[in-house]
């Protein structure tokens, strides 16, 4: 019996991904462990291995198709002894419980890719218990180029528009009617349309030859989406504190003098933040909507700028790691992040983030929280400043300003302040981290 090959989830939170390449073709014999295809998520490209033996009977999703839903059938595997005739009448299974609205097809552009992706998302007629009245969105519909253009501009799912042109062709008037009557707007969950940016309105501001348009890749779209959502939905509060780091710098100098390790200031910052989170566990928390997750470990996401965007690999259990181990860990993560070689588990999750722009000369800044984490620490540059010492004398000290952004739904100002006090304590007296 033919077996469907399903779109794998490369991480627990992955909903869809791009099937970037097939490494097998129809008719190829495969066995367990063979690499079948490459899947691209927003942050990584992964090779997908075959788990069964057989012959590739049919490829259902072409290479290059974006937003293929997890668990959608992407190919059909034939068992030994079966030939292509076994495919007749065979229908790949539905995605269990996949809400039709989740098909990110609402982009309304009926280009080939989009229609294919719809076909994948909603092909089986037996989609269980989904009462989407207009799943017909998937079916072929004739529409005029102008109708499609306007649907795109208006963010209308043209598949939900009723055509009144010749042979039911969807024409301009139909789309305008749909806009007027407020139907066919894709649900916000359907894709990135919630950012509500009017591409045409943006472009209209600039002369056509005055810019180069670069299509957003998966990472850019995710950044745009997540940042918009978090900035909009999460109530941020910002707390700033100055830390003297002369002691830290001399400790670092001493440690690195051996030549065996090369510990960065950032490593100290990660370690200090992790220990402060353990000391003030209320700051190590996530909001779920109706509860608070108090994290037991300090898994620190560190923002790494990479070509075309950024990624946040995680230093797990940073509180438990010694500086030497931590330092090797961060170097390895940063290197592999730049090469886009991280596995999803290495950048998904984390309980707290650190963004360090000190090396770029930024004195102080604020960050948008890496939701669903509860807080992010923005670290400025270390610089010599004149400080009024306890006795009233002016002294020169190396100061570093950090700003904590807290999700106020779960971390109140006083908790944030306690965290910063603990952090400052560890940073200014790094020896105390040994305790």
């Amino acid at each position: 019996m033919p077996t469907p090959i399903l779109m794998p989830a490369l991480s627990p939170t992955m909903e869809s991904g791009k099937l970037s390449a097939w490494l097998v073709k129809e008719g190829d014999t495969v066995s367990s462990g063979d690499v079948m295809c490459e899947i691209e998520t927003d942050k990584a490209t992964m090779e997908v291995e075959c788990v069964d033996e057989g012959t590739i009977g049919k490829i259902l999703v072409e290479a290059g198709t974006e937003d293929v839903l997890v668990n959608a059938a992407i190919a059909i595997l034939l068992e030994e002894g079966e030939d292509a005739s076994a495919l007749e009448g065979y229908t790949p299974p539905a995605i269990p419980g996949a809400p039709v609205a989740a098909a990110p097809v609402a982009t309304a552009l009926v280009d080939d890719v989009a229609s294919k992706q719809v076909a994948v998302a909603a092909a089986p007629a037996s989609a269980p218990a989904v009462s989407a009245p207009k799943a017909a969105s998937k079916s072929a519909h004739f529409s005029s180029p102008l109708a499609r253009r306007i649907a795109g501009l208006e963010g209308i799912d043209i598949g939900l528009v009723t055509g009144t042109g010749p042979n039911g062709r969807i024409i301009k008037r139909d789309v305008l009617d749909a806009v007027k009557n407020g139907v066919a707007k894709p649900q916000a969950v359907a894709g990135f349309s919630s950012t509500a940016v009017d591409a045409v309105a943006v472009k209209a501001l600039y002369a056509e030859d005055s810019y180069e348009e670069i299509a957003a890749d998966g990472m850019r779209k995710v950044i745009a989406k997540r940042m918009t959502e978090t900035a909009r939905d999460v109530p941020h509060i910002f707390l700033t504190i100055d830390c003297a780091i002369d002691a830290l710098l001399s400790a670092r100098k001493g440690l690195n003098a051996s030549g065996e390790v090369k510990i960065s200031v950032n490593d100290f910052v990660i370690k200090a933040a992790a220990m402060a989170l353990i000391k003030v566990p209320e700051a190590n928390a996530s909001w779920t909507g109706d509860s608070i997750l108090m994290h037991k470990h300090a898994d620190i996401s560190m923002a790494v700028a990479i070509e075309g965007g950024l990624i946040t690999p995680i230093v797990t259990n940073a509180d438990l790691k010694g500086l030497a181990e931590l330092s090797l860990n961060t170097k390895d993560l940063a290197t592999r992040a730049r090469d886009r070689k991280l596995s999803p588990s290495e950048y998904q999750g984390g309980t707290f983030s650190i963004s360090n722009m000190g090396m770029m000369g930024i004195k102080q800044f604020t960050s948008i929280i890496n939701s669903p984490q509860g807080a992010i620490l923005s670290v400025g540059s270390g610089e010599k400043r004149v400080i009024v010492a306890a006795g009233g004398d002016f002294v020169a000290k190396t100061m570093m300003t950090v700003t904590l952004a807290c999700d106020h739904r779960v971390i109140d100002g006083s908790v944030g302040a306690s965290f910063l006090a603990a952090f400052k304590g560890f940073i200014e007296q790094p020896v105390s981290m040994l305790l």
Binding site: S144, P145, L146, R149, I150, L153, E208
Partner: protein, 468 residues
């Protein structure tokens, strides 16, 4: 036969009526057409077709007499025979007229010669030569009575010196001095004809430009060409009165600057618009609504009275044969219950004028598009940049396209130059299919053709023009 109740009776066998009748027959309806004068109506007998025949003659003559040398040809003593020119035109009209009779016969359309008057719902009275014929009974009645030339008091056509299109089509002479009142399609075509044959032609237009329904740039271009051909064009000018003399006619004219002038002409062509033929067809009997000379209809050509429809010129502008035919087909298909019938979009009806250079357009002018609130992108391409046009010896012309900057919809296309009346169809199809600038840009236009300019105009609207 007279006891039969037809599915549909059509009053008038012009381009609206006869096409509707044929389509009705094709749909299996029993149909009768009542025509008082000519099968094919004005279009075929006294309009579109015979004028094209006349213009063909005058253009050929112009080519022989004035441009032969330019093409390396030798023509000596080029002249013309007006009677033969007119006879050819009449012959063509007759041929077409007979063609309609053939089509009626072929499609089993019943024809009654006479004047029709609606007597009651479903009943049409007919009189021929003053005698009443048996009433015609029909479930549906379509009024397709057309229109005639508008006249004004103080300048009624006398058939001798003051002509409408009808006399101008069978002229007794090429007038030495000709006055054409009105610079719409009809006026300009006659002006072109007589001017080419040697009349000293004056065109008076009350609006501020010639061809006032066309895009302003087209009017401007046309004006230049007409003047170059030796026509006198007086815009923002009004003819107040025409006074026939013994051998000529005197026109009182109020010029743009407000001054009045007396000018003498040998003949005058009146082309100041048309009025619908709404009289004596029984509209009052059933209370069929009409607004001045036009019957009021809905998008399916239905009047306010059930079972009574009106199509073509009598149902309002644009007064074009192809509009009448198309309206008639929609109307009869709706009556026959054909599925997938769509109302006519007036903005997709092309208009053509056969002066030299020709003028053709569809959709919004730039000005109208802006008035309608569109932010527009406009493309222009001159004939002089097109190899075929230059090779033809027709380097005078312009193709203008108007796009909605937001959606890329082709809002309108406006053309002047050789053969543009044939070219316009490309844009009409584009509008009908709702293409955007993208599809037009991706279309391959054959070389060397005049059509290439249609491509270039679109490209120009988006700053991508190649050949200028």
């Amino acid at each position: 036969m007279s006891n039969q109740t037809y599915d549909v009776a059509i009053i008038g066998a012009g381009p609206g009526g006869y096409v509707t009748a044929i389509r009705a027959a094709q749909l299996g309806l029993s149909v009768v057409v009542i025509e008082r004068e000519h099968y094919g109506g004005i279009c075929l007998n006294w309009g579109c077709i015979p004028t094209k025949a006349l213009l063909r003659s005058s253009e050929q003559y112009h080519m022989m007499a004035h441009r032969a040398e330019e093409f390396g040809l030798k023509v000596e003593g080029a002249s013309f025979d007006l009677d033969k020119i007119v006879a050819r035109s009449r012959g063509i009209a007759k041929q077409m007229n007979q063609g309609i009779q053939y089509l009626f016969k072929k499609n089993k359309v019943n024809v009654v010669d006479g004047e029709a008057k609606i007597k009651a719902k479903g009943v049409v009275g007919v009189t021929a030569n003053g005698k009443a014929l048996p009433d015609i009974k029909a479930k549906n009645i379509i009024i397709a009575t057309g229109a005639r030339a508008r006249t004004f008091p103080g300048m009624e056509p006398d058939g001798k010196y003051i002509w409408t299109y009808k006399q101008a089509l069978v002229p007794d002479t090429v007038p030495e001095r000709l006055l054409v009142i009105g610079s719409g399609a009809i006026g300009i075509e006659f002006a072109s004809f007589f001017n080419a044959l040697g009349s000293k032609t004056t065109v008076v237009e009350v609006m501020d430009r010639v061809l006032p329904v066309e895009d302003k740039d087209i009017s401007k271009f046309a004006l230049k060409q007409f003047k170059k051909q030796g026509m006198e064009i007086l815009t923002s000018t009004k003819v107040d009165k025409l006074t026939p003399g013994k051998k000529d006619i005197t026109a009182s004219i109020t010029l743009k600057n407000g001054k009045t002038e007396q000018r003498t002409f040998d003949r005058v062509v009146l082309a100041v618009g048309i009025v619908g033929n709404v009289e004596n067809i029984g509209l009052e009997t059933l209370g069929i609504k009409h607004d001045r000379s036009h019957i009021v209809v809905d998008q399916w050509s239905k009047t306010n009275v059930d079972g009574i429809y009106a199509i073509g010129d009598v149902a309002g502008p644009p007064w074009l044969a192809h509009k009448a035919s198309h309206e008639g087909i929609i109307c009869i298909e709706k009556i026959a219950g054909v599925k997938d019938v769509h109302p006519l979009n007036p903005a997709n009806i092309p208009g053509c004028t056969y002066c030299h250079p020709q003028v053709a357009s569809v959709g919004y002018t730039e000005e109208k598009a802006k008035q309608a609130g569109y932010k527009v992108k406009v493309g222009n391409f001159p004939f002089v940049g097109n190899g075929k046009a230059v090779a033809l010896g027709e380097p005078e012309g312009l193709i203008k396209t108007v796009f909605d900057a937001k959606t890329g919809e082709l809002l309108g296309a406006h053309m002047i130059g050789a053969e543009v009346t044939e070219l316009i169809q490309g844009y009409v199809i584009a509008r009908g299919l709702e293409t955007t600038e993208k599809e037009l840009m991706h279309t391959v236009f054959a070389h060397p053709t005049l059509s290439e300019m249609m491509h270039e105009s679109v490209l120009d609207a988006y700053g991508k023009m190649i050949h200028m």
